[in-house]
Amino acid sequence: MTIEMGEEVTITVCPDGPLLVRGAVELVGADGEPMDVQRNVIALCRCGGTRRPPFCDSTHKKRKSRRAEQSARGKDEGGEP
């Protein structure tokens, strides 16, 4: 799929989350082959933890809650977060 003239592609940065891409984009994989994009909005991983690259699979939420827990534990024990 090619981007038509005047067709708008927007990329939205989600805080602590993925990049949301809206519009007609062609996504090319690491092997140079175009990837099958089925939906109008795609979420691209920004944390590097996804198991379905380049798409977000919500793994960032696990990382975030783990970080929050570690920092809370750090405070409880009076140690470094």
């Binding site: 989350g17 939906r39 109008n40 909005v41 798409f55 977000c56 919500s58 939420k61 827990e69």
Partner: protein, 355 residues
């Protein structure tokens, strides 16, 4: 429980609900009315008496099979409909009054089970609905039902789980659609963006409800709409009824949006585990596609639902903040009750379905 391996079909999964077996006096009277035998006023009196029974202990209504089945049937009149039943019953004044009598304790119960999460969100995040929703739905470290499904569950347990979910999933997304005509501007377009994906961009074979139907057939279950209604307990119906209650009343718009946020934000990570569990049991992509699709789709939807839909709605109508939190918290709390029921039954070596 009814036989699991019934003739399966690739036909429409959006048929009408078959009239179920009654679960008590009120639902027996309601079934009579719907089939043309009884009088609506008799049912109305029975529903009022049943509702009044839970005035002092409303949470118990969530476990009352008779009350929950009545609500499910009364809501179904506004959804896919009931086989052999005149659709005009949906707006019959006596049935509407009976429904209101049952909704009174149900509303109190739903708010009661949501209360702890709502007050925690309010004290931690104040007016920040987006922060509150992310926090309320954050993944926990303790292993849950989805971890068990990934590593240990057998085929019968997967079948039970699909049966509990089938009442809603075979019409996935439909009740949230009631939110579209009730909003305008940015939150309306956010909801539409999610719904278009739920309905497979208009492609029948990508519609999420159809993907669920395929998973059911792959596991040897019937994909007929509401086929397993008689098999699911009150607590499963309560979860289903809460969504219908939010969706069918315009005044519950905030709760409907909050409910959708809770669904979208707690789907991607467990879906990966369900998919892994099915592959462990030897199933291929036809069975896992529903879950695989939700890993990616709901990682998109949760961003749109929390930020654009809930955030946008509360920007427009700040008075809906608490309703959004209640809807989200109620969804999570009712899901916990159902998960607790399933885990409890399985730990005793029993089925979580009705016998």
């Amino acid at each position: 429980m009814p036989p699991l391996r019934v003739a399966t079909t690739d036909e429409s999964t959006t048929g009408r609900m078959v009239v179920p077996a009654a679960r008590g006096d009120a639902s027996a009277l309601l079934v009579d009315v719907l089939l043309g035998g009884g009088t609506p006023d008799g049912f109305r009196a029975a529903a009022a008496a049943l509702g009044a029974r839970y005035e002092s202990n409303p949470v118990d209504v969530l476990y009352d099979d008779d009350a929950q089945l009545c609500l499910t049937l009364l809501y179904e009149l506004h959804l896919q409909g009931i086989d052999g039943v005149d659709d005009r019953w949906g707006w019959d004044p006596s049935l509407v009054a009976a429904r209101a009598a049952l909704e009174q304790p149900f509303d109190t119960a739903v708010r009661a089970v949501a209360a702890d999460r709502v007050s925690q969100a309010r004290s931690g995040f104040g007016e920040d609905v987006v922060g509150a929703l992310w926090d309320m739905t954050a993944p926990t470290r303790e292993p849950g039902l989805s971890d068990f499904m990934a590593s240990d569950a057998g085929l019968e347990q997967f079948r039970e789980l699909l049966i509990h979910r089938s009442l809603n999933q075979l019409r996935e997304a439909d009740v949230y659609t009631f939110g579209i005509p009730r909003m305008s501007g940015a939150p309306k377009s956010a909801l539409l963006e999610i719904q278009i994906d739920e309905y497979g961009q208009g492609r029948l074979d990508r519609m999420h409800s159809r993907l669920f139907a395929t998973t059911m057939r792959e596991l040897g279950l019937s994909d007929r709409y509401a086929r397993y209604l008689d098999a699911v307990p009150a607590v499963t119906l309560a979860s289903l009824n809460a969504l219908s209650y939010f969706g069918l009343h315009r005044r519950n718009l905030g709760a409907l949006v909050g409910h959708l946020c809770a669904i979208e934000t707690t789907s991607a990570l467990p879906s990966r585990k369900y998919s892994a569990g099915l592959r462990r049991l030897g199933y291929g992509s036809a069975a896992t596609l529903f879950f695989d699709e939700h890993i990616e789709a709901d990682s998109v939807h949760e961003q749109i639902a929390v930020r654009d839909l809930a955030g946008g709605l509360v920007d427009d109508r700040p008075e809906l903040l608490d309703d959004v939190l209640v809807g989200s918290a109620a969804c999570l709390a009712l899901d916990d009750l159902l998960g607790g029921h399933i885990t409890d039954c399985w730990s005793r070596g029993r089925s979580s379905l009705r016998s």
